[in-house]
Every structure is written in structure tokens, then in C-alpha cells.
């Protein structure tokens, strides 16, 4: 369960990215976050895994209050949340396999478990045959799928994806959606920022629309909106 109460975020440079956000996302929900570029979607998402701290208000994830969470416990929070970053954030010197394995190394999984589980998720994102490649040797879409594989490898309770289909062709996009729906079916909460109108309108889920840092719409089986 993710809960935000009256959350406001003002960046150091004075940009007011979010204003008085109140939201409640139940365990197992699938939520799209939509809105124009610069609306505050990424900021909203970054607060959840504590890349950014709110300037005001409070956030609670699975009973943990992030406003009082001690710095040394932040890693534990992040291990429970799988994040697909808008800019992938792959480690450039590590192979595809090692990048995905890293999320398990930090929790000191055994080599055998790591090998097995990493190959499993690489299979899911269809990158098994590129396990040894470096991120630089992959296309944008392939890098995005590595990022997805890393996000789900540790069976997180929540997967947060910032435009996970942003760099993908339509076919691959649908495949990615299938993956996310699958893990959602197993009870994982999914939070996905997207500009993909087609997907939002086809796979009907809860839609939260953010504009200029405020939630302007929150529909249980919503549409993308912003129709021409």
C-alpha cells in the first residue's frame, strides 16, 4: 500500500514539481500515471523509492513512513521496490547478466540462485541470448528490457516503471505490458508513468492524471484523456 498525504515537492532550484498530492494505492493495484511532459510524473515516482524526498507532507509504503525512515534503511526499502528507470540506469561496465544479477548480489544471494533467477527473468524479457552483452552494445529497447528484468528479479512487492514502453516498437511494447500484467496478477502492485495512449485505452486500469504538479483526475478504469 502506497499512501501520500499532502505531498509537495519543490526542487532546490525552486521548481515546484508537485503540489499537495493525496493518493492511496492499494496492494495489487495497476495504476497508470499520465500527464504532459514536465507535469511531475517522474518526480511523483521518485518519491516512492526515495530518490527524492518530499519538501512537505508524508509518504507511507507498506507501513513504512518515508519521512522518518533512517538513511541506513533506505536500501531495504529500495530492495522491495523494483524500478524501471526512464533513463534505464544500467551499469555501463557490467554485462546484461551482471546488471540484473547486481540487484541480487546486494542481498547476498548465492551464485546458483542468482544464475538461475537471472536467466529466468532474461527469458521473460527475451534477452537470454544477449546475457553477455554490455549495455552499450544494445538498442534502446533492449536496454529498457534489461532495466525491467532487473526491476522484477527480486520479486518486489511494487514495480514502478517510468515510461517502460517509451523506446519500444508497438509489438515489444505489448510484450512488456504482458509481462507487467503477469506480475500484477501475482499480486505485485504496478505503477507506470506513460505517454502511451493506445496502451492506456486498451488495457483499462486505474489512471491518475497529473498536470502542473497536481492530480487532476483519478479514475478506476480510466482512459488516457487529452483527446485531440
Amino acid at each position: 500500500m502506497i499512501e501520500m498525504n499532502n505531498v509537495t515537492k519543490t526542487y532546490k532550484n525552486g521548481v515546484n514539481a508537485l503540489n499537495n498530492i493525496d493518493i492511496l494505492i492499494e496492494k495489487g493495484e495497476f495504476v497508470y500515471v499520465v500527464g504532459p511532459s514536465g507535469a511531475g510524473k517522474s518526480t511523483f515516482i521518485k518519491m516512492i523509492y526515495r530518490e527524492e524526498k518530499p519538501s512537505d507532507g508524508s509518504i507511507t509504503i507498506h507501513g513504512t513512513d518515508l519521512t522518518t525512515l533512517k538513511e541506513k534503511h533506505v536500501p531495504h526499502l529500495r530492495r522491495k521496490i523494483g524500478v524501471v528507470f526512464q533513463d534505464f540506469k544500467l551499469l555501463p561496465r557490467l554485462s546484461v547478466f551482471e546488471n540484473v544479477a547486481f540487484a541480487l548480489e546486494v542481498i547476498e544471494e548465492s551464485r546458483d540462485v542468482i544464475r538461475k533467477r537471472v536467466m529466468e527473468v532474461l527469458d521473460i524479457v527475451k534477452l537470454k541470448n544477449k546475457a553477455r552483452f554490455l549495455p552499450d552494445e544494445l538498442s534502446g529497447g533492449e536496454q529498457q528490457r534489461v532495466s525491467i528484468a532487473r526491476a522484477i528479479v527480486n520479486y518486489p512487492r511494487v514495480v514502478i516503471a517510468d515510461e517502460p514502453t517509451g523506446n519500444l516498437d508497438p509489438d515489444t511494447s505489448w510484450e512488456i505490458m504482458e509481462i507487467l500484467e503477469n506480475i500484477n496478477r501475482n499480486g505485485t502492485t504496478i505503477l507506470m508513468a506513460t505517454h502511451n495512449r493506445e496502451i492506456v485505452n486498451a488495457i483499462k486500469k486505474r489512471v491518475i492524471a497529473i498536470e502542473a504538479g497536481r492530480i487532476v483526475r483519478d479514475e478506476t478504469r480510466g482512459t488516457y484523456g487529452y483527446e485531440k
Binding site: 541506513k72 534503511h73 536500501p75 540487484a103 548465492s110
Partner: protein, 306 residues
Amino acid sequence: MMKQGGPTAMKSRTLVRHGKEGMKNIGRNGWMSFASISAVTIMLLVVGVFLLLIMNMNHFMSSVEEDVEVRVYIDVTASDQEQEELEEELKQLENVDSVTYLSKDEGLDQLINSLGDNSEAFESLRDENPLNDAFILQATSPQLTENVAEQAQELPNIERVDFGEQVVEQLFNVTNILRIIGVVLVLGLMFTAMFLISNTIKLTIVARQKEIQIMKLVGAANGFIRWPFFIEGLLLGVAGSVIPIAVMTGGYHYLYDAYADRLSLNFAEMLPVFPLTLQVSLVLLGIGILVGIWGSITSVRKFLKV
């Protein structure tokens, strides 16, 4: 709900991973690593030389200090009665530990013995002993020797009072100067070495700042990120102590074989090779490790706030 992060023991495979990472870092910054190791090497060479010097000086000092005594030569005209009075008065002086009588014949024996090979020339003196009978005074501590000598000087029936003033003072001075030079030089070099190591590691970190941020975002704890750098510093320190330990041990061995006999003929005596070289080796290794770790800690700390 969230697992609380108490300090859990690191699994050995994780340590192995950190070790590999640390070594990779050293390879990636080849030249800076080389410079750091060289700095540690030079610093430890100097530390080693000074340690050997100072420890030998200390050893020498303490053996000399034990020997420091005041010789009160009795006036030849003094009667037995006066000699006994003098002995009593000497015992009454402040800071006197012991008073022993040394006849002029015993004194000559001592002198001849101490001359070793050159003693024959003096054998002829036995018939006409030029020495006086004397009292040997031991001060309660070596530093008070001069004070005891001054007091004794005031007493009657004394021909002259002798003590190794120059030797003692010079030794104290030399050792003190050595210590000061050693400490200043060593501290200066230690900071240089630390600075270089910390800069080497900073290079690694700056180059990898984005990576560190990514690692943190996917759940790596600070310790996990810090370990490889910690090991990098440690390895740089250890690598830097290899040559100094070898040179110091080998060199002292050589010097000892070459000079120990000759020196002990005179008054000085070298400390034996063992355990001295082992002790100094351990100290050098310890300083190397310390400097390495210190360098890495100072450079990593401020980069971990993501």
C-alpha cells in the same frame, strides 16, 4: 514491515566480490595506483631506516646509561680514617644509589681489559700504577649523574671527580635530533602518501559516481559500495610495504653481518637481526595498511550521499 537493517555478517562470496572489484580499480587507474604505491614505498623506506636507527640508538643508550657512573678519585695523601669519612659522606649525598670502592689495581685491570687487543702496551704500567684508589658512585637515575658529581666535587680529600658527561650528553642529543628528524620526515611523507592514495581512489570514485548512484538506487547499502574502495586502499598500502620490508630486512642483515663484530669491540652493540627486523616489518606493514585505509576512507565518505 520493512526488514530492519541491523549489521549482518558479510558472506564470504560478497567479500570475494569486493576484493575483485578493489583489484580491478587498481588496474583501471594504473598510473595513479603506481604513484600511490611508490609514495607509500618511499615513506616506509624512510620510516624503516629511522626505526632501525632509533631502536639501535635506544638500545645503545640504555646500555650506556647503565654504565654511567661517577668516579671519585681519592687524594693519595688521604689517611685511611679520612677515606672512611669520605665514603660515609658520599653515601649521605642526595640521589646516590650506591658507593663501591675500587682500588687502583682493580682500576688498572679494568682499564687493561677494556682495551682488548691493544692491552699489551699497558701491561708495563702494573709496576708503577698511575691511577688512584677511587669510589664508584651510581646515581639513582642516569640523568642525576651530573648532579651527584657536582655534590661529590665539594667534599675534601678528593683528587678529581670523573663522569662520562660528554658521552652522555652527546648521546642524548643525537638520539633526540634523530627522533625529531624522523618524526617530522615520517609525518610529512605519511601525509603525502595518504594524499596520493586518497586522490587515486577519488579518481576511481569520480569516474564511477553515476555508477555508485545507480547501485544505491537498486538497493546497495553504503557498506556494499564502500568495501571495494576500502580494499583498494588496503591493497595499495600493502603493495607499498613490500619493497621497504625486503630492503630493510635484507639491508639490516647485511649490515649486521658486516659490522656487528667490529662494533661490539668498541662500546656499541647492534641489536640482533631477529626479532628486530620482524618487529620493524610488522610496523611497516601496519603503517602501510593504515595509510591505505585512511586514504580510502577520507575519499569515499563524501561521495556516498545519494
